[in-house]
């Protein structure tokens, strides 16, 4: 059983190697983009679980990322000093609120980041449950359009709401304190610790998902994905499981949103946009749909390149093109089990029967 964690350990080794690598060539600023890549990868692996193992597509996952990010951003920048009523005093005394200095030297009273994080996750879960119920009952393309729509609604809400910063987003979000004096923030001095914190979270997430896949529930999910009515006939509560995976993937996205917002010190409406959602799906697709490690490695490479600006103004184009190419030629994803035999079949003259994704 420890064999299961071997790839996890290997990946952890890779992460350490990368960090030491940047140290040796004196290019430690790379760690910033790598840290951001880590948080985006968290969204990707959660989405991979949903698409690959529960067989449900979501074109709106950036929405959950944004819910997480915006809630925590808002709560940790909303100055409660101005409405200093009885409730606020109570909260302040119980330690739920935090007093800090803002950039201009004034004094702010805001919600403690831990509470803000909890609120963000709670809202993410609530929305996922509310929306997932009816949405997951829809078939294939209707499901895709519905999730697309939900992402857009979140986008429109954050874009159009003044107290959420409208088109400017929310900035000056404080760091996220962790036990042991650690702080998730974009501070150059804590670059290395933040790098390991971010990737540590991703590795933890991977471990949890790998465990799930190998477990009774993971088996049931594969069954649901393979033949849903037969799975139901075997006593698997298909709707409930699909919903649970949906919510789980939403939590991954929301959590990533929370921490990346604290790391970046802010969030903007583009994080909720369709382009981001498409990006996540494209990465899962090229990584192999049901391949967690494939999605993770593709996310590492593609997100890093994108953040470093290697794609220039063609950033969105690249991911759009990836999505098209994968959907055209390899709808089951690129790095999957039967890749070699499928390639052989494609090159031969025989017509190929398509499986519905």
């Amino acid at each position: 059983m420890a064999r299961r964690y071997l790839p996890v350990a290997a990946f952890a080794g890779l992460i350490v190697a990368i960090q030491l690598g940047t140290l040796s060539i004196g290019a430690e600023y790379h760690l910033t983009q790598l840290t951001m890549t880590a948080y985006y990868s968290l969204v990707v692996v959660g989405l991979c679980m949903l698409i690959g193992y529960a067989g449900q597509i979501s074109l709106g996952h950036a929405g959950f990322f944004a819910i997480g990010g915006y809630v925590t951003a808002f709560l940790t920048t909303w100055d409660l000093k101005t409405n200093h009523g009885a409730v606020v005093s109570l909260l302040e005394r119980s330690g739920a609120l935090v007093s800090r200095h803002d950039v201009y030297g004034g004094n702010l009273l805001t919600v403690h980041p831990w509470l803000a994080c909890a609120a963000a996750i709670l809202l993410t879960v609530a929305v996922a449950f509310l929306v997932g119920g009816p949405v997951l009952k829809l078939k294939g393309h209707y499901l895709a359009m519905a999730t697309l729509g939900i992402g857009i609604i979140v986008y429109r809400i954050v874009l159009g709401t003044d107290f959420l910063g409208a088109s400017d987003g929310i900035s000056e979000v404080p760091g996220f304190p962790l036990p042991g004096g650690l702080l998730i923030s974009g501070d150059a001095s804590s670059r290395i610790s933040n790098y390991y914190l971010a990737w540590g979270l991703v590795i933890l997430g991977m471990a949890l998902l790998l465990n799930l896949i190998q477990s009774r529930v993971g088996r049931a999910l594969s069954a649901v994905h393979g033949a849903e009515d037969a799975a139901g006939a075997m006593g698997i509560p298909t709707s409930r499981y699909k919903l649970n995976v949906f919510v789980l993937s939403a939590v991954f996205a929301g959590l990533a949103g929370v921490f990346l917002t604290h790391y970046n010190g802010g969030i903007g409406p583009s994080e909720a946009g369709v382009m981001k959602s498409v990006r996540y799906v494209a990465i899962v697709a090229i990584g192999g749909m049901a391949n967690l490690w494939g999605s993770l490695s593709m996310s590492l490479v593609l997100n890093y390149l994108s953040l470093r600006g290697y794609f220039g103004t063609y950033d969105d184009t690249v991911f759009g093109a990836i999505l098209i190419l994968i959907m055209l030629f390899a709808p089951d994803g690129l790095l999957r089990r039967h890749l070699v035999s499928d390639l052989k079949r494609m090159v031969s003259r025989n017509p190929v029967e398509e499986d519905a994704p």
């Binding site: 393309h141 519905a146 729509g149 382009m275 759009g320 055209l328 709808p331 398509e354």
Partner: protein, 251 residues
């Protein structure tokens, strides 16, 4: 979007009616090219795969438009009158361009209805939509039918873009919200029924406009999606469609 943008560019060189005609033709060619390059050789793709592919294609078109025209906002001049002139219709002042939109829209619906119900080609297309294999067995070239349908819908989109852009202006990314509204309206009206689509479109427009009484203006764009979601959850076959027909249409 392509229709509007192309028309504006061409309008610099040729008179407007010709510019619009050429823009529509260009867009139709683009539609055909897309179908031939991306869609035609797929073997029985699932609808979901098609949806994602076309979403990807729309992103590519957007990006190409961005690189051709930049982020500038463009508009055709008003067909008749100007942005401040209006026509008095029984006490209500309506911009002349709006009448053009309604008029051309009605013309398009009428033309489509005639095409699908009275011409051989139109009936062949409906046969393809209903049951592709059976249509092929009847000697209909289903591959070309699909291309033709792409070209037709591209043409209608282009005409719509041209006619509306004096009022709403057009930009490289104006296509996306319109596509979503288009999809909403298509589902709302029940797929395959163009008159119902028009009806649904008007209902959507009215709902969107009146929504500013209840919700802040900034959320107006989200209304159409919220309505789409509501329809999908409650009655995916649309207001005017029937559940049986929707199921039969291989969706």
């Amino acid at each position: 979007m392509l229709g509007g943008m192309t028309a504006v560019t061409l309008n610099q060189f040729v008179p407007m009616p010709l510019a619009i005609l050429l823009a529509v033709i260009v867009t139709m060619i683009v539609g055909a090219v897309i179908e031939i390059v991306f869609i035609r050789w797929l073997y029985k793709p699932s609808v979901l795969r098609m949806v994602i592919i076309t979403i990807g294609i729309s992103i590519l078109i957007r990006e190409i438009a961005l690189h051709i025209w930049g982020e500038s906002v463009k508009a055709l001049p008003y067909f008749t009158g100007s942005s401040i002139s209006s026509i008095n219709l029984g006490g209500v002042y309506v911009s002349s361009q709006v009448l053009w939109v309604v008029g051309i829209g009605a013309l398009a619906v009428a033309a489509l209805t005639v095409f699908f119900n009275l011409t051989m080609l139109g009936r062949q297309m409906r046969a393809c939509a209903a049951n592709r294999d059976a249509a092929r067995l009847c000697g209909i070239d289903t591959g070309n039918m699909v291309t033709l349908s792409f070209m037709l819908s591209a043409a209608i989109g282009a005409i719509g873009g041209c006619v509306v852009c004096p009022i709403t202006y057009v930009q490289f990314d104006s296509g996306t919200p319109l596509a979503i509204k288009g999809f909403t309206v298509a589902i709302l009206g029940g797929l395959g029924n163009s008159t119902a689509a028009v009806g649904a479109g008007m209902i959507l427009g009215i709902l969107e406009s009146f929504s500013i009484w209840v919700l802040p203006t900034a959320y107006k764009e989200a209304i159409s999606i919220a309505i789409l979601l509501a329809i999908l959850f409650v009655k995916p076959s649309g207001i005017f469609g029937s559940a049986e027909a929707a199921r039969l249409k291989e969706f």
